[in-house]
């Protein structure tokens, strides 16, 4: 099973919907896509919508941390929403919730970032 990446931009917010498995096979592709989106569209905030993400490993964490570093320089924020328990546990273990915000749904996340 591979990874399906769906990117949607609203104002300066990038919504990233991932489906499938984020591992070291697929993380490079995700990194490339996110990188170009952030550069071209002048993205400030990122919302990770992980409802359909089944699996993630350390390389996935690497991609997320790298993007966080980028947007935090623009005073941007990263929000995670619709996360399933397995991935949530992984996020917890990696300490990612120290820097990311967790929201129930995409709407909540957008609301928090000031876009209805």
């Amino acid at each position: 099973m591979s990874l399906e990446i769906d990117l949607e931009q609203r104002d300066r917010i990038l919504i990233v919907r991932l489906k499938g498995e984020l591992d070291h096979h697929t993380s490079d592709e995700l990194k490339k896509q996110l990188e170009s989106a952030i550069e071209e569209a002048d993205i400030q905030h990122i919302i990770l919508s992980l409802k359909n993400l089944q699996f993630m490993d350390s390389s996935g964490i690497g991609v997320i941390l790298g993007r966080y570093k980028k947007i935090s320089q623009k005073q941007g924020e990263m929000v995670v929403c619709s996360i399933n328990p397995t991935i949530k546990r992984l996020f917890e273990l990696s300490g990612l919730f120290k820097i990311l915000k967790l929201k129930e749904s995409e709407e909540d996340a957008l609301h928090m970032l000031g876009v209805a």
Partner: protein, 831 residues
């Protein structure tokens, strides 16, 4: 000089006893005048040297040889050239008291010596090393010429002159050693044994000058020799006492052959007096009286016995009159005396204190530096100022080159400025500025609105960039500050350690010594370095047991009983001395021991794994287990994780607190490159005395503890190391128990079940099912189990590290000794 100081030191306590008001002032003046006069008498007139000169001039050996005068003169020439005339006079005068001929001969020898020395000086060859030969030459020549002139020139006289010249040469060598001591040229001068002998020879030679003097039928030389022996025996003990007795005895008997038995008398009484010196002055006196009486009863007749007792009595009286400070002052020079040891100890302590203070000063310096690094934050510019600066940059690119500049900025400054300030605020707040945001009046006035907006955007980017750079520099500065603070803390602890060693643990040392000797062991020395609980360090020197392991089987168990805590021999610090002694280091045995096992595989079965691991004893009673997983696989990841652990190991070993150590590693790694390279770190620090374990995890998977059949997880969440500069560190503590298996792994193992719903539970089940509790086997089994789960495929670098904690049991049980109490430990005063 110090003699004088000691005398006034003696008088001072009297002052405080019974003197008040006016009397004090009078007495103080009196003391001062004594001091002044003492100084004048001793130094300006050098009375002491003159008296010595007189006596040495008088001193005769075998009734005809006077080998003392010329050496004394020659050596004094170098010490007190200003007084050399008077000293020469004293010598000649001393010699003349025997008969005028001797006076003339001495005068002639001295004259010859002086001429030679003056000639040598003119040729710039004045050197103490030539002096003995000058003395030899002048004595030989002058005496031979004198004999020739007198007509007593024959073979015998010539031979005797040769003997006298050689003696003079030897005496010169001795005086060169001993005279500087008496002229107080050197402060804090510690004598070697041979120097003490030289000094005694000098004093005995001086005493020879008193031969033939009788006061009320008592011989002055006997009194003085006994007095000398008493003083040295009291200060230096039996060996020194006997030596002084022999040396004085032989020189006195050389002068007067009838006094031969004086040598044995003085040596014996010196030995006795020295052996009884523990009894204070009275003990020494008793020794002297017994020694001298026994021998004179044995040798002499009745008259001699009475004379001898009288002489001893007078010597004792003199000895009793000798002020204590002078004795103490002399004893500082004599090796082996308690004062000598004390002054050595004082010196050592001073060095230690100075070192500690220096280290502390450095610590303070580093702390100060760190504070100045952290505190220094460039003041935030005022908002208005910021806008001004921003606008001036913008206008430089636009308005400066605009033909309407005069109109907008000279005539309508306020309005233009205000409009632009509004725009600047807008772009600062939202980050964007559109055509419609521009205020109406400005739009109307300005012909290059587009350009202005563009310039503002550009400027904003630059400003942000600038700010970011600034923040990075600030972060770097904070990192340096933290590092310095850490170094400062380590140094401060070190200085405390140095000072702690200065604690006086003599009582405990004696107690241990007694206990060990009570068991029949021959012990040379016991040195207690530290008695802190859990950190005991004792050094024992005893005859080498030739691998019979007395130390482990007897010494350590005994100390275990005395201290109430397990003591072990530190094997790697056993030193065998060349002289058949062996120095043992005995330290607190750790309560627990850790056995580890590791298994790992690289992705795809390759050689190089991106994981690294280390297990190390930090040396301070802590055992560290660490696993690091570099991002990705292969060489790059391997280097990353290895570097992380190396750095961590160095910092931990230097004594840095683990949280700060990890923070430092993080800061260094994240500053090092802008790439998003990171590594996870999983660190467990096991306290070997309490088994209390601290876990710090950076982006790593949970660890498992298997206790009996129960398995539980330990997890904490921190970001991986090397990405975000400022991290907070969560530490999880867990009390481990003997028999516990601690299992740490990288995500290659942890994530292995892949799609399993609950990996933790899966792993727990696997661990619980393991039947072995050998760490290495556990590690191997787990790795195999995980690889089998994937049908032999290794999807990621995998490392599993297993540690088993066990109570350390001493090999030999403690030895109970009924009559010895437990050693009292000093209360720790660690501020």
């Amino acid at each position: 000089m110090f003699l004088l100081r000691k005398w006034t030191g003696l008088v001072r306590p009297m002052q405080s006893y019974f003197l008040t008001g006016g009397i004090t002032i009078i007495l103080r003046r009196f003391i001062q005048s004594i001091k002044k006069w003492g100084y004048i008498v001793f130094f300006k007139w050098s009375i002491l040297h003159l008296v010595m000169g007189f006596l040495l001039g008088r001193a005769l050996i075998l009734q005809e040889l006077s080998p003392f005068a010329v050496p004394y003169f020659a050596v004094m020439y170098f010490l007190r050239k200003d007084k050399i005339f008077y000293i020469g006079l004293a010598l000649v005068f001393g010699a003349s008291t025997h008969h005028a001929g001797l006076g003339w001969m001495t005068f002639f020898s001295l004259f010859l010596t002086l001429i030679t020395l003056l000639i040598m000086e003119r040729h710039h060859k004045t050197d103490l090393s030539y002096t003995p030969f000058i003395v030899l030459g002048s004595v030989l020549i002058s005496h031979t010429i004198y004999d020739y002139y007198e007509g007593t020139w024959n073979g015998y006289a010539l031979f005797m002159n040769g003997v006298e010249a050689v003696m003079s040469l030897v005496l010169t060598l001795i005086f060169i050693q001993s005279l500087p001591v008496l002229s107080f040229k050197k402060q804090r001068y510690q004598l070697k044994n041979e120097e003490v002998v030289c000094l005694v020879i000098l004093l005995a030679s001086v005493m020879t000058g008193t031969i033939g003097w009788y006061v009320e039928n008592t011989s002055v030389e006997h009194i003085l020799s006994r007095f000398l022996v008493l003083v040295f025996a009291f200060i230096g003990g039996g060996t020194v006492g006997a030596t002084v007795g022999v040396v004085t005895g032989i020189i006195l008997s050389l002068a007067d052959i009838n006094a031969m038995y004086q040598m044995s008398l003085l040596a014996f009484s010196g030995l006795l007096a020295g052996l009884l010196k523990e009894g204070g002055r009275l003990g020494t006196i008793a020794g002297m009286m017994i020694g001298s009486s026994i021998l004179s009863i044995y040798v002499g007749n009745q008259g001699e016995i009475i004379a001898s007792v009288r002489e001893s009595a007078v010597a004792v009286l003199l000895f009793l009159l000798m002020p204590r400070p002078i004795l103490t002052a002399i004893s500082r020079y004599i090796p082996g005396s308690q004062e000598y040891m004390q002054s050595q100890n004082d010196y050592l302590r001073k060095v230690r204190d100075v070192t500690a203070e220096k280290v502390q000063n450095f610590a303070r310096l580093f702390e100060q530096l760190s504070v100045s690094f952290i505190e220094y934050a460039p003041a935030e510019q005022e908002n208005e100022q910021k806008i001004d600066l921003f606008l001036s940059e913008v206008t430089r690119q636009t308005c400066q080159k605009c033909w309407k500049k005069e109109q907008c900025w000279d005539r309508d400054f306020l309005n233009t400025y205000e409009s632009m300030a509004v725009m600047a605020k807008q772009i600062d707040e939202t980050g964007e500025l559109h055509q419609m945001d521009v205020p109406g009046p400005f739009q109307k006035k300005c012909v290059k609105t587009d350009k202005v907006i563009q310039a503002m955007h550009h400027q904003l980017d630059q400003l942000k960039h600038h700010l970011q750079m600034k923040r990075q520099i600030q972060d770097a500065r904070r990192l340096v500050g933290d590092q310095l603070a850490g170094v400062s803390r380590v140094m401060r602890d070190f200085s405390k350690e140095i000072q702690k060693e200065a604690e006086d643990l003599n009582v405990q040392e004696q107690q241990i010594l007694n206990a060990l000797e009570g068991l029949g062991l021959s012990i040379r020395d016991v040195e207690v370095v530290s008695l802190e609980e859990g950190n005991v360090h004792i050094r024992v020197t005893l005859p080498s047991c030739f691998a019979r392991d007395e130390c482990q089987k007897i010494v350590a168990p005994l100390l275990t009983n005395l201290l109430g805590e397990n003591i072990a021999v530190k094997q790697d610090e056993m030193e065998d001395d060349a002289d058949g002694y062996c120095i043992l280091s005995l330290v607190s045995a750790k309560e627990y021991m850790v056995e580890t096992g590791v298994a790992g595989a690289a992705k795809g079965g390759k050689l190089l794994s991106g994981d690294s691991f280390k297990s190390m004893d930090l040396g301070n009673g802590k055992f560290a287990l660490a696993i690091s997983d570099g991002m990705g696989n292969g060489e790059r990841a391997h280097m990353e994780s290895t570097a992380t652990l190396e750095l961590l190991q160095q910092l931990l070993k230097s004594g840095m607190d683990e949280t700060l150590a990890l923070k430092s590693v993080n800061s260094i790694l994240s500053l090092r490159s802008t790439d998003e390279i990171f590594a996870t770190v999983d660190l467990a620090l096991i306290d070997l005395y309490s088994a209390d374990t601290r876990f710090i995890k950076f982006g790593s998977t949970p660890s498992f503890v298997k206790r009996g059949n129960r398995v539980f997880t330990i997890s904490s969440s921190n970001l991986p190391i090397g990405i975000i500069q400022d991290i907070e560190v969560d530490v999880v503590s867990e009390q481990l128990k003997p028999g516990d298996l601690l299992i740490m792994m990288t995500d290659g193992i942890y994530d292995a079940p892949g799609d399993v719903e609950n990996k933790e539970r899966w792993m727990k089940r696997i661990i619980a099912e393991l039947e072995t509790d050998d760490p290495q086997e556990v590690a191997d089994c787990l790795l195999e189990r995980v690889i089998r789960h994937h049908y032999g495929e290794i999807a990621d670098d995998m490392t599993v590290m297993v540690a088993r904690i066990d109570r350390q049991l001493p090999e030999w049980s403690a030895i109970q000794i009924p009559n010895f109490d437990k050693i009292e430990r000093p209360s720790q005063t660690v501020s």
